[in-house]
């Protein structure tokens, strides 16, 4: 399910994404008003990821036909958790640009040499030996999600496939087909999905069991699928889940923000709104078959093993188990997110519930090379954390808010930066909104102090340290960036990038994105007269 993933990414990569982009940078706006006035300054959002591997399809191995992305080395290494990148065997690799600077890495004392291989069919294989005796986490990351639902009649197919093929449900991934083999091993299955990718992981003991796990997992993703029966069985389940989720005020709020901000882009349907077509099983079966044959294919998939493994043996096993998987060669064209030109606003009536406020800013896509997203991430960490002056005022001292959260959602297409608050008294909605916007104006005017910036960087860095202390945590952290870029080196680049953000970057990013014309505001609660 999406929620754990969202939480995870918020914790680890908090804001890591969003906002790259050559945006119109100018003096701070001051026209927040009530949200009705349309300010005309455009945000120029970018569709590509600056300098990063934004390829939709993973590059095939060197010499393989059908590559629009250049060649990918059959074997390469990257030192994870440091900023040192080493190429192995093939000098013209696609593992990312050379490190911008050498020296101290993110966590040099715990660096890990990662092996990466590309199979002829486009499948990418990432091996991460990790200090945790006897523990292995094997993950299948399919880089397809609602983002790929660009044609009519396709809404809900990504979620359907996540459930049917990867077993990703509301809480955990179910063992499903091949389940007995995994059950015998005492394996635990996990899963999460985002707008852009889905990740299924199997956690088990003993490197000697890796081949059996891979055999079961290969059969699951490469084996025959009864789409019609799957739809008949799963459509009611998915519908029920969507209905249950839709009762939750926080889901309603986020859903309304996405619907308004993304309008016609498939992201509007994540995570629960995109099930319109699934219940119509007979006419959807063909669309489902098409979706599966296009995206549940090797060129959209990354295999990741973290833990007590022998990298070369893992790569060889992947070749043996997955080498016969046939690529689709489908040329996917993602939908564009048009620049937002005016403020948007909506109110959801919800008597008897806690009042809620959500303010979203449309930013650029995930990048591991553009400082703007990292700068916005740091603003969120500094200005809206529980230690921030605004939080201390609204939540702790005045007790007007029950919660105050900043959430950057890492996506391949332009991302939303969402500031949300639970408000004790609905009458306080306008005042709390003014406080949040006031804080953003302050950042646009003054930026962040050097000390605040340093502390926010430390916060993000040590939050990652806590996460990657176990094989399972390291696997999740890696999957979250591999799902976005296909590149295990992205995690390093990202944290190196965060480390390089300057106060001037913060000012520039704040002024570029915190504009009324770029905002969507949704309130939820009793009618407030707005």
């Amino acid at each position: 399910m999406s929620e754990p993933a969202v939480r995870f990414r918020t914790l680890i990569l908090a804001g890591v994404l969003a906002c790259g982009a050559a945006a119109a940078v100018g003096a701070p706006d001051s026209g927040w008003g009530s949200g009705s006035a349309a300010l005309s300054r455009d945000l120029i959002s970018r569709m590509s990821v600056a300098g990063g591997p934004a390829a939709d399809v993973l590059p095939p191995a060197a010499g393989a036909p059908g590559s629009a992305w250049g060649s990918f080395p059959p074997h390469a290494s990257v030192f994870l958790f440091t900023d040192r990148v080493r190429r192995n065997r093939t000098p013209k690799g696609d593992l990312g640009s050379p490190p911008p600077h050498s020296g101290r890495g993110i966590f040099p004392q715990t660096s890990v040499e990662v092996r990466v291989a590309g199979l002829d069919n486009g499948l990418r294989v990432v091996a991460v030996p990790f200090r945790e005796p006897d523990t292995v986490v094997f993950s299948t990351i399919v880089r397809a999600g609602v983002r790929n639902e660009v044609e009519p009649g396709q809404t809900g197919l990504a979620r359907f496939f996540e459930r049917l093929v990867l077993g990703i449900g509301p809480q955990v991934a179910s063992p499903g087909a091949g389940g007995e083999a995994l059950f015998r091993l005492g394996a635990q299955t996990r899963g999460f999905s985002t707008e852009d990718y889905a990740c299924r992981s199997v956690l088990f003991a003993g490197r000697e069991n890796l081949e059996a796990v891979m055999r079961a997992e290969a059969a699951r993703i490469m084996g025959p699928r009864d789409i019609k029966a799957g739809i008949l069985a799963l459509a009611p389940v998915l519908e029920r889940e969507a209905r249950t989720a839709a009762r939750k005020p926080e889901v309603r709020l986020i859903g309304a923000l996405r619907n308004a901000a993304y309008e016609r882009h498939p992201y509007r349907d994540f995570p629960w709104g995109g099930l319109r077509d699934v219940p119509n099983a007979p006419s959807t079966a063909e669309a489902a078959r098409t979706f599966g044959s296009r995206f549940y294919t090797p060129e959209h998939t990354v295999l990741l093993a973290v833990g007590d493994i022998v990298p070369d043996r893992f790569i060889e096993m992947a070749r043996k188990q997955y080498g016969g998987w046939v690529r689709s060669g489908f040329d996917f064209q993602p939908a564009a997110v048009p620049p937002q030109k005016e403020p948007k606003r909506a109110h959801l009536e919800a008597p008897g519930t806690t009042a809620r406020l959500g303010i979203a800013f449309l930013g650029p896509a995930f990048s591991d090379s553009d400082r703007a997203p990292a700068a916005l991430d740091l603003i969120a960490a500094a200005s809206f954390s529980s230690a921030s002056p605004l939080y201390q005022k609204l939540v702790i001292r005045e007790k007007r808010c029950l919660s105050l959260v900043a959430d950057f959602h890492a996506t391949r297409d332009p991302s939303l930066l969402v500031l949300s608050a639970g408000i004790k008294d609905a009458a306080d909605l306008p005042a709390v909104e003014a406080e949040i916007l006031g804080e953003l104006e302050r950042v646009k005017r003054d930026g962040l102090t050097s000390r605040t910036l340093t502390e926010a960087k430390a916060r993000l860095r040590f939050a990652l340290a806590g996460e990657i202390a176990t094989a399972e945590g390291a696997s999740r952290a890696l999957a979250s960036t591999v799902g976005l870029t296909g590149d295990p080196g992205s995690l390093n680049k990202l944290y190196a990038l965060i480390d390089r953000v300057l106060p001037s970057d913060v000012l520039q990013a704040a002024r570029a994105y915190f504009k009324p014309s770029n905002s969507t505001t949704v309130t939820l609660g009793p009618l407030t007269g707005k």
Binding site: E113, P133, A205, G206, K248, S386, A387, K399, A469, T470
Partner: protein, 452 residues
């Protein structure tokens, strides 16, 4: 290549480096206990301060006081710094302190990057040994707890809510029958003086076991012990626990709360005197019924008495009350027909393999050693548990099921927004059950742990 890890070789080195420096069992009741697991390659240091008192030690009429007192230590200010000041000092360290409170014990825990160990420990020590007990901190925590208890939208803890209702049903008149988090009414009545008194009475040397694991420097453990030795002497006597009552037939307790999603939780109290072999046999039975293999049936410091949960609607989908008949049928079938040989072998193999995973990192080993009862034998329960599990025979599973899991004495806890409909549905499912509905004022709802 220096400073990098190299798979197995380093993994092996870690095993060798994982040195258990001490596992000091407490021989005198007012002696400070300690468990240290040094793992020099671990980039984190894991703190787990176990306090041998829990919600069952709450004074009468002050349910939730234990939890509130430890929350004040973890999330409040100190004698010299306000909560806000401490929050800003912890922020760049990415440190959070968690509090776990169960019936007979509590744990205050934190994981911290070893780069930040000194800065963090200065704060952690001050919080635990010189708490401020500021009225404003208490007010904030009370408001937070009460809003979570009263907010029907908070579904994250729905299953825990159901389990608390089941606890209440099974342990009525027993020290475990008290709500761990308190009710809105009892929390509202808690005062700073209550917390100060509870801290003075119970945060004493004999109640505390210091747990430390991971990549801490050589002299660090001694420093921590020296600091905590400054606490006053004393200990809280262990509670005298009666056996849970055994009603003649099934029982149902319904908690009605407007706007809530529905939950159904079933279980049976385990006999406190059962053998380890019988518990291992019931573990296999539980998995056959759909229990999560991680469900704990073994007594530990938090609970010397345990419940056998009977899973309802595994996977969490659908109408929970409608799923009760299938769950009861599965239990009846297990009691009547036993477990097929191939299934028994499969489950046992699965549990034995899963136990290898459980013995993972230093933090997990610390938790396991610290939480185990001293009478459970040599610390490191998973190895001992594996040996016992490996020796269990299929006939023992069937015998244990017939002896301890009587479907006709099942207890069912229900959370619903429509008690009358639930009552009607249950009358058809378990006609012989005694059904009671909690009055709104009697309902307590557990609230999630607070994190910085």
């Amino acid at each position: 290549m220096s400073g990098t890890f190299r798979g197995r070789r380093v993994g092996g080195a870690l095993v060798l480096a994982l040195i258990v420096l001490a596992a000091c069992s407490v021989t005198e009741p007012d002696t400070l206990g300690s468990v240290f697991i040094s793992a020099p390659d671990d980039p984190l240091v894991h703190f787990r301060i176990l306090v041998k008192v829990g919600s069952a030690n709450d004074p009468s009429g002050k349910d939730g006081l234990c939890r509130m007192t430890w929350d004040l230590l973890a999330h409040g200010g100190t004698r010299t710094s306000s909560a806000a000041e401490i929050s800003s000092r912890l922020y760049p360290l990415a440190a959070s302190i968690s509090v776990t409170v169960d019936k007979e014990a509590s744990a205050i825990a934190a994981d911290i990057s070893r780069e930040n160990l000194e800065a963090f420990y200065a704060i952690f020590k001050e919080k635990l040994l010189a708490p401020g007990f500021a009225a404003e901190d208490l007010d904030l925590l009370k408001a937070d707890r009460i809003s979570r208890i009263e907010d029907p939208e908070d579904e994250a803890n729905l299953q825990a809510f159901g389990s608390a209702i089941l606890d209440r049903l099974i342990y009525e008149g027993h020290p475990y029958g008290r709500p761990s988090s308190g009710s809105a009414a009892t929390i509202a009545g808690l005062t700073v003086a209550d917390a100060r008194v509870f801290y003075a009475q119970h945060f004493v040397r004999g109640n505390i076991i210091i747990g430390l694991a991971g990549g801490y420097p050589p002299d660090f453990a001694e420093r921590v012990v020296a600091d905590f030795r400054l606490l006053p002497a004393g200990f809280t006597p262990a509670l005298r626990l009666p056996a849970p009552r055994r009603p003649a037939g099934p029982e149902v307790l319904i908690a009605e709360q407007p706007g809530t999603a529905e939950a159904a939780v079933m279980g049976l109290p385990l006999d406190p005197d059962m053998t380890e072999e019988e518990r291992a046999a019931l573990k296999i039975a539980g998995v056959q019924l759909g229990q999560d293999p991680k469900v704990g049936l073994t007594p530990d410091r938090f609970r010397r008495q345990r419940i056998f949960p009977v899973p309802v609607a595994a996977g969490g989908e659908g109408d929970p009350i409608a799923a009760i008949p299938a769950a009861l049928d599965a239990l009846r079938s297990l009691a009547r027909e036993g477990i097929p040989e191939d299934r028994f072998e499969l489950i046992r193999a699965s549990l034995l393999n899963a136990a290898r995973l459980a013995a993972g990192g230093a933090g997990e080993r610390l938790r396991e050693r610290l939480d185990a009862l001293p009478e459970a034998g040599e610390p490191g329960g998973s190895e001992r548990g594996r040996v016992i599990l490996a020796g269990v025979a299929r006939s023992e599973v069937e015998r244990a099921v017939r002896k301890y899991l009587d479907p006709e004495r099942i207890r069912i806890g229900i959370v619903t927004e429509d008690a009358e409909s639930a009552r009607r549905a249950l009358a058809a499912i378990v006609p012989s059950a005694g059904v009671r509905t909690l009055l709104p004022a009697e309902i307590f709802r557990p609230s999630p742990e607070i994190k910085e």
